[in-house]
Symmetry: D2
Subunit: 233 residues, 4 copies
Amino acid sequence: MATQISSKVQVPIILVNFKTYAEGTGKKALELAKICEKVGKETDVSVGVAPQLPDISLVANAVSIPVFSQHIDPISYGSFTGHVLPEAVKAAGAVGTLINHSERRLKLADIDAIVSRTQEIGLVSVVCSNNMDVSAAVAGLRPDMVAVEPPELIGTGIPVSKAKPEVVSGTVEAVRRVNPDVIVLCGAGITRGEDVAAALRLGTKGVLVASGIVKAKDPYSVLLEFADAMSKV
Amino acid sequence: MATQISSKVQVPIILVNFKTYAEGTGKKALELAKICEKVGKETDVSVGVAPQLPDISLVANAVSIPVFSQHIDPISYGSFTGHVLPEAVKAAGAVGTLINHSERRLKLADIDAIVSRTQEIGLVSVVCSNNMDVSAAVAGLRPDMVAVEPPELIGTGIPVSKAKPEVVSGTVEAVRRVNPDVIVLCGAGITRGEDVAAALRLGTKGVLVASGIVKAKDPYSVLLEFADAMSKV
Amino acid sequence: MATQISSKVQVPIILVNFKTYAEGTGKKALELAKICEKVGKETDVSVGVAPQLPDISLVANAVSIPVFSQHIDPISYGSFTGHVLPEAVKAAGAVGTLINHSERRLKLADIDAIVSRTQEIGLVSVVCSNNMDVSAAVAGLRPDMVAVEPPELIGTGIPVSKAKPEVVSGTVEAVRRVNPDVIVLCGAGITRGEDVAAALRLGTKGVLVASGIVKAKDPYSVLLEFADAMSKV
Amino acid sequence: MATQISSKVQVPIILVNFKTYAEGTGKKALELAKICEKVGKETDVSVGVAPQLPDISLVANAVSIPVFSQHIDPISYGSFTGHVLPEAVKAAGAVGTLINHSERRLKLADIDAIVSRTQEIGLVSVVCSNNMDVSAAVAGLRPDMVAVEPPELIGTGIPVSKAKPEVVSGTVEAVRRVNPDVIVLCGAGITRGEDVAAALRLGTKGVLVASGIVKAKDPYSVLLEFADAMSKV
């Protein structure tokens, strides 16, 4: 039951955040993105990638899967040296962006302004949150998606969907109450197909994953396991 | 129909933010707080004050009206040199705090953590917002109050309750949908009694005001006008 | 008397900051960089460009002149979603970076850490400053270059080299006292060849320029005028 | 050989940072400050205290030793809700301020502006730094004092003056080269009198200390040991 978010993005989705890992930088970002594209084609599961800003065009020119920015700033054209212009990441090939990742927390007023900017220029917005209340708050800003990730589980291999299922289902419920149009993803500690399946059964429409794929010995196999699990729920 | 928020704070309220105005610093903060106390006693309208951090104890020791901090940080006892410990402002005599004022915008996750800290130690939380969507977001964090202030009107003398009544009533409505327990104040440009009355008629429980009182030639007269208008709605 | 800073960068230099101007984003960044390259070849004056992060690889793959990042963060490979990894901008083709631009001011400890990172991986560092004292401070961190730009003149068309020559010559002197190896550039308000000539006569080794070129009706003519003036000093 | 920095502050000095420790908040801040005053009187060694912002007036009204703020912002009177106005901490009784503590790192341009503000209104400036290069940078801004504290040693009980004597003496030397008028303190891990003596022998004019005193079982005894050691160098 795939739902189209934009012409390029559909859910359920496995969204792979390359962070600033060596395994996801430069040429390796390109290789990893091609693996993600391959799994997407083989399984018919939507797989998206979020490489670093300097790698967006490299990746977007080489693959047909959706490419996300890891961050954008609440700015328009002008004098903002060193900031991330939404139009620039779009021109480079991004179709969406992460916002407020736990490693790049933003001011509330800026998250609101960034979500507005994504709507103006046509980028899919995925706002990260750290708990149920913050997810409810984010839903009030009407982004396309909220990705709840308890920061204490990020990078641990302890999956949020097993360790804190109540945070995931509670977020799904809290977000629905505020704005039923907002899609919920979850992340943190996801390393196996069953974690992905659990996430979907708890009411999410996908996962945000980083080290579980990017730092895996064999990213292809792990991502294939994720996609298989997702397609069976 | 006064409602008690805590043992020291009730609404409707006129909350006077002293900012870092010369007219609200040091001894002048003390004088101004005494004027606020006087008007409160004479009119039986609740008036609160938010002096600067170094002036909290000076003011709180001298007046019986509620004293708010202008800011606290999302911290507990520990190694946080130069930050604002909630316990320290409470010990100095504050009964509540502003959070996320437009001149001191905070990260979403920090606002959430600060609201939690106020609940732990018993401070009344007043989270500022800049528009309806952000007010709805704030309501998701379950503070005691949201104070909506369109930043473009702050300090202008153009009252939000007249220039943008739809922002005020829209905020009241949006907050009620998310969490009907959260009280709404409004602010920006309020300089006359009729602006205060309009704010209450739009569904708020009071106003957040700064230059309109602090920089008035005769703060006593203006505040009295505010209080009279409030008591008649 | 050209001096080689690295294999790719020499001074005197005209360094063109594309900011987030529409005229310097995406395909227009590419066109503008080609104009800069053309002037550099025609005049034998060193011209560098600083496009936005998502445009670095696009530009660097198309031109042979030095490409700078507008910003990098004080990080190494790891979990830093949404931050700018020095290795990533280098992999994309940058040979240097602006640091602490007035529109992207940084913490002192972070500037120090960033300069160290540039030295580790071989990027030319250009740290911006706003006055003489801050320039002297920056020189203590031993970057390759300091670019002094009084913020009140940026974008005004009032050239620092004419309006505040004492800030330029004072910076040259103050930096020399702290560390004579650090090269001084200046910027702000530079729109004509004579402003560039004045900057060099005051002891700098070049200029940092943005709107004067990027938003010029005919960037080629203005840059040619700059380069001619520079080659005659 | 005491040197007078201002009418209220002289070096050598033991400067006790109360941080946001429970043992240094509210009434306990007052008790601790009185202990510091007692030791100062008994030994004729200069002891200063840096309590939290809401405790400055409480402490300054009760003791005659110099009271420092832990932080101030680069602002003047105006609309800066929640920020720390230099005039306000002075009015509350502070005679100086810490700037850029490792737990409250600041932008370079802001440190410069804060140092200027302290000079305008007559507060003693103590700018913290994390290494030799940053200390040299700070010296370029001409504060009254630089306090070098390797962050990795803060709170460890491993004294900088023993573990990294070369950082201390190197800082003394680097600062002298840039500006011989700037006084050097050091801090981090100082828990015994001999650490203080070592700091002075390395060329500093005192120590910045926190947990070593504030969290000591018997602050009086430890501070007395510090002061005795200082008076014998």
